[in-house]
Symmetry: C2
Subunit: 384 residues, 2 copies
């Protein structure tokens, strides 16, 4: 019998059976009335998820496509932009902006550090006329969730457009696009939105739609004006991934029916259970040891054990897919994503697998303490 498979990475994530079933529905035409009804509902639900009254633009792309759309539509060559970076995805903002000829002013941290609003405010005071500030809400490479509300507030006096990579955070931790003054929030379908990869979103504030909000950079597929004009007529500029849109609409319905607050609380509690379980088996956390780390938990492997080996062993022997560290963290940390369609038994499975794997690789782990602790923390938290 084929081994059961468990997908516990920070994305793509496991999607609910209702969403898989929607994917298997016959293909419909993107300009037919049956698709338009689904499309309208989906676009409306995205606004609720982003907590914005502005249009959320929907692209057939991975999340990086939405990130590039922000740079291409907002920034002209030579524009000065501030990039707050404390990991792999912060660096991606810098790379894209450099590709578009921007002068990048980095506010750079060691990987694993949490960006501070004061640092951003100081950088903006020192930077003459920043066109935009690029932020990462959930830095998937380190497990750090930044305080985007405070960062956006710190950016406001500068007049720079505030752009947030919320790809792995939207639907997992609070994001208040309008209330926090976020001009652009980018997201992807394959994280807490419980849909396979392939759809990217960018909410764009009214402030940005002014004519002076446009860049001179070349763009076509990711052009915001064209995309918005189409969406306003329930049309799409180019053939969208219709099956994924139908699936996303089902997933968003599940999330909103249960309530976003419930999703946030579940993610907080799962993060806590994961951290406490990991610590109980004697492991050291790489991601912060507090409730902000509600998306992905990054854990150091014990001295002498290679995370690459652990991740391979868990995948090949037990069918449990965790994520290795990225770049300089490769081999040193492993990451457990607890995002989207995920419950405490998934935490128990992930930790149980880690326990078995580490023991096999020679670590001295007390049997069952991690799972016991995780269940305990969950039960306590769920009581509140």
């Amino acid at each position: 019998m084929a081994a059961k498979r468990y997908l516990f990475t920070p994305g793509p994530t496991t999607v609910p059976p209702e969403v898989l079933a929607a994917l298997a529905e016959p293909v419909v035409h993107h300009r037919g009335s049956d698709f338009r009804a689904v499309y309208q509902e989906c676009l409306q639900r995205l606004k609720q998820i982003f907590r914005t009254s502005s249009e959320v633009l929907l692209f057939t792309a991975s999340g990086t496509g939405a990130m590039e759309s922000a740079v291409a539509n907002l920034c002209s060559p030579g524009n000065r932009v501030v990039v707050v970076s404390a990991g792999s995805f912060g660096e991606r903002w810098a790379q894209i902006a450099e590709r578009y000829g921007c002068e990048v002013v980095p506010v750079r941290y060691e990987w694993g550090e949490t960006p501070a609003a004061d640092d951003l405010a100081a950088a903006l005071r020192d930077t003459n006329g920043a066109r935009a500030v690029f932020l990462t809400q959930s830095e998937t490479s380190t497990g750090v969730v930044a305080d985007v509300q405070a960062l956006a507030a710190a950016a406001r006096p500068s007049g720079a457009h505030v752009v947030v990579d919320a790809i792995s955070s939207v639907g997992a931790v609070p994001l208040e696009v309008d209330a926090w003054g976020i001009d652009v929030a980018c997201a992807g379908s394959q994280k807490a939105l419980m849909t396979p990869p392939g759809l990217a979103m960018a909410s764009v504030s009214d402030a940005v739609w002014a004519p002076e909000g446009r860049s001179s950079s070349p763009r076509y597929y990711f052009d915001w004006d064209r995309t918005r004009r189409a969406q306003e007529q329930l049309d799409s500029a180019f053939t969208p991934a219709t099956s994924l849109v139908v699936a996303l609409n089902v997933a968003l319905g599940l999330i909103l029916d249960a309530g976003l607050e419930q999703a946030f609380e579940r993610h907080r509690l799962l993060g806590r259970a994961c951290r406490e379980g990991a610590k109980a088996m004697g492991l050291e956390l790489f991601s912060p040891d507090d409730d902000s780390a509600a998306v992905v938990t990054a854990i150091k492997t014990p001295e002498g054990i290679d995370a690459t080996e652990l991740v391979s062993l868990l995948r090949d022997r037990y069918g449990v897919q965790l994520a290795n560290g990225q770049a300089q963290l490769k081999g040193k940390v492993f990451r457990i994503g607890h995002i989207g369609y995920y419950d405490v038994f998934d935490i128990a499975t992930a930790l149980g697998a880690v326990e078995l794997g580490l023991a096999e690789l020679g670590a001295d782990i007390e049997r069952g303490v991690a799972v016991t602790k995780a269940l305990d923390v969950f039960a306590e938290g769920a009581k509140v």
Copy 2:
């Protein structure tokens, strides 16, 4: 009971049940070994479909994304490019190239005309140092399939890179990327490749990979070098639409198992049956009345009947989705796509619906002649 639905547009197209079933499989990680095996097979099969030994780059995007990738990677601002245009998708090449600051030399035809290799050769002789020539194999807006082999041959002496939009043609009509000297062929998943929309491809010839083959235009998500580097390691630059890749692999397997030549012959025969059926009920063709028109048949509505009304009526009353004319052809022609997972009974259904709809709108149509003729032509052709 809900009406049965029939999708007979030039894309998206109906996909086989095996492909739908693959879409509903649990999500896997894009860097896990099970996905890599599928990915490798899929990339290999794409080479067979394109008939090239070069890498076929795979993007999560609609086909337009692959088209933009060609302009962004090949063309720098100020480059002179020749665009052969005889419809909506030829114009798209011109629009994208203009957006990237190219000097566009159009070889423009009336919509519905078939581009001639001599015209292109003459234009290239008159154009000093064209960087690239942009062609459309199947102009979905008119039903014309251009002789890309002749056009590419006409372009060769100029040294310009030959770029072909093969989005609705690949897998439906012959395309010999290597043998015909095509530098870049763009395709999409949602036409003859029998997969839902969301994946785009670009084959890129070895000639283009030379360092001088690169442009100075900004690009990130659609950057060819990054994409190729990743694919060579069976990796992807960004999270791909894994579910669609798994589905595409199933569809490509079905096509290649039966043989590409069989697919071409089926499309030819379906086009013939569709044309003869339409003429038998007294309608006038807009697309060419020969076997080249194997992808989509564009048909004029009888005097006094609005194609918009016909398309709406067929969709709302009978669940049969055809396509209206685009731009200046809107209301004047309707289009029947016969692409991919399609057989003679689909032609019969489409023509039967047109017959019922036209009769209802007041046209004088002899009952059953179209379907009779289509079956007859098919039976004759299948004998050969």
